[in-house]
């Protein structure tokens, strides 16, 4: 029975992906992609990867969808209707065959995976005690392979610098304009009522992430979504990107991470190794700082480059 369920899910995913490619309606494609993200979240839950399911639902179904919808609205404003891309006949046969070959090759690899599957689960469980954590995925992210997470945070900051640098010269250091021209009344209500729940769920995710599925990225994404909702409804303007407090918050998470890393050289076995006695409080502390900085970075990535000149 569960196999039937999986087959239905997979069929839905592929149908939605095909719809995204073939449909002419740009916004319909984005809505289909949001639905794709929701289904994919269920798929990850079926693969027993609840941590990934949480991340995919929050980012794939939430933030990416909003990013794309905003971009679509912007393009519709900027581009004259006659300059919109027409669906002219293109050569599609050769690319289709090539992409089909890629799929076939990848599928053959999937079917030819080694039979006793290699797994690092034993090692992950064996050293779990030294970290004081209960969730092996969090342990991998913040203890065993902490360097990956650190570098990922730096990639996020670099992407934000890249996005900001696409602003006009006059707007550098200013704020993004998120508020639409007309704000429907229910949106304001939503932006007043939903954020308290969102913050509660985010705190819960960080707290529970040490021992159960959940953690920093999921919580950061929820907080980012709530911040965007508030800015969207015009309850609070987007912060000017030159504000010192904002920049400190964004850099604070990775900076603390690097600091702890170098402390590890001094008091433990090396860079990013934690003294065993205080490993868990240290990890939870890093998580809290990272959550805020991830939330800020993600929200500003969606908000886009600043487009108002900063107040003098």
């Amino acid at each position: 029975m569960s196999l039937v369920f999986d087959i239905a899910l997979v069929a839905g995913l592929i149908a939605l992906a095909l719809h995204v490619v073939v449909t002419r309606d740009g916004r319909g494609a984005i809505l289909a992609f949001i639905a794709f993200g929701l289904l994919l979240g269920i798929g990850w839950a079926r693969l027993a990867s609840v941590d990934v399911a949480l991340t995919e639902t929050a980012i794939g179904g939430g933030l990416t969808g909003m990013l794309l919808l905003r971009a679509h609205a912007h393009l519709a404003r900027e581009i004259a209707p006659e300059a919109m891309v027409r669906a002219e006949p293109r050569r599609w046969l050769a690319p289709a065959i090539a992409c089909g070959l890629v799929t076939l090759a990848l599928g053959a690899i999937v079917l030819a995976f080694p039979r006793p599957a290699p797994s690092l689960a034993h090692q992950a469980i064996a050293s779990l005690e030294t970290t004081g954590l209960g969730n092996p995925v969090t342990a991998v992210l913040l203890a065993y392979r902490a360097i990956d997470t650190l570098l990922e945070k730096i990639v996020l900051i670099l992407a934000l610098v890249g996005v900001w640098s696409l602003s006009r010269d006059a707007a550098w250091g200013g704020a993004s304009q998120l508020r639409p021209a007309i704000i429907p009344e229910p949106l304001v209500f939503l932006a007043r009522v939903l954020p308290p729940f969102g913050v509660l769920i985010a705190v819960y995710q960080v707290w529970v992430g040490a021992d159960l599925p959940g953690g920093t990225f999921q919580a950061g994404t929820i907080l980012a979504a709530m911040a965007l909702l508030v800015m969207l409804a015009g309850l609070r303007p987007a912060p000017p990107t030159q504000a010192r407090a904002l920049r400190l918050m964004l850099a604070g998470g990775p900076a603390l991470f690097v600091l702890v890393g170098f402390l590890g050289v001094a008091v433990a076995q090396g860079f990013l190794s934690y003294p065993e006695a205080i490993a868990k409080p240290l990890i939870v502390g890093i998580e809290a700082a990272l959550t805020l900085s991830i939330a800020g970075t993600l929200a500003l990535l969606v908000a886009g480059p600043p487009d108002r000149a900063p107040a003098p």
């Binding site: 029975m1 569960s2 039937v4 369920f5 239905a8 899910l9 839905g12 149908a15 719809h19 449909t23 309606d25 916004r27 319909g28 809505l31 289909a32 949001i34 639905a35 929701l38 289904l39 979240g41 269920i42 839950a45 079926r46 609840v50 949480l54 639902t57 179904g61 939430g62 969808g65 919808l69 905003r70 679509h72 609205a73 912007h74 519709a76 404003r77 900027e78 304009q177 508020r179 639409p180 021209a181 007309i182 704000i183 429907p184 932006a191 939903l194 729940f197 969102g198 769920i201 995710q205 529970v208 599925p213 959940g214 999921q218 929820i222 979504a225 965007l228 909702l229 969207l232 487009d307």
Partner: protein
């Protein structure tokens, strides 16, 4: 019991996905949004049923997120919708 719960989950998923499949091919943009909303709620129900069927209580957290964010994407959609296409003032660029 787990079998019948999985069967119900499959049924709910199919019911909400079928609406999406048909609406996406025709119809107006807001109706597509409605179908996505239905899929969001249906997905949450599916996850709750699966969580009960496979004794994974953590799936309820995923359902919680799904419910929270389906309202969010609806709000994001109104953003593009509420502005007339040829607005005199372009908020993103100076006039």
């Amino acid at each position: 019991m787990p079998e019948s719960l999985t069967l119900t989950a499959l049924f709910v998923l199919l019911a909400s996905a079928a609406g999406l499949a048909i609406v996406l091919r025709s119809a107006i943009a807001i109706e597509k949004l409605m179908a996505v909303q239905l899929l969001g709620t249906g997905g949450a129900a599916t996850l709750l049923l699966l969580g009960a069927a496979t004794a994974q209580p953590a799936l309820a957290d995923v359902a919680l997120l799904l419910v929270l964010l389906s309202a969010f994407s609806c709000a994001a959609f109104t953003l593009g919708e509420s502005e007339p296409p040829q607005a005199a003032t372009k908020p993103d660029e100076p006039a």
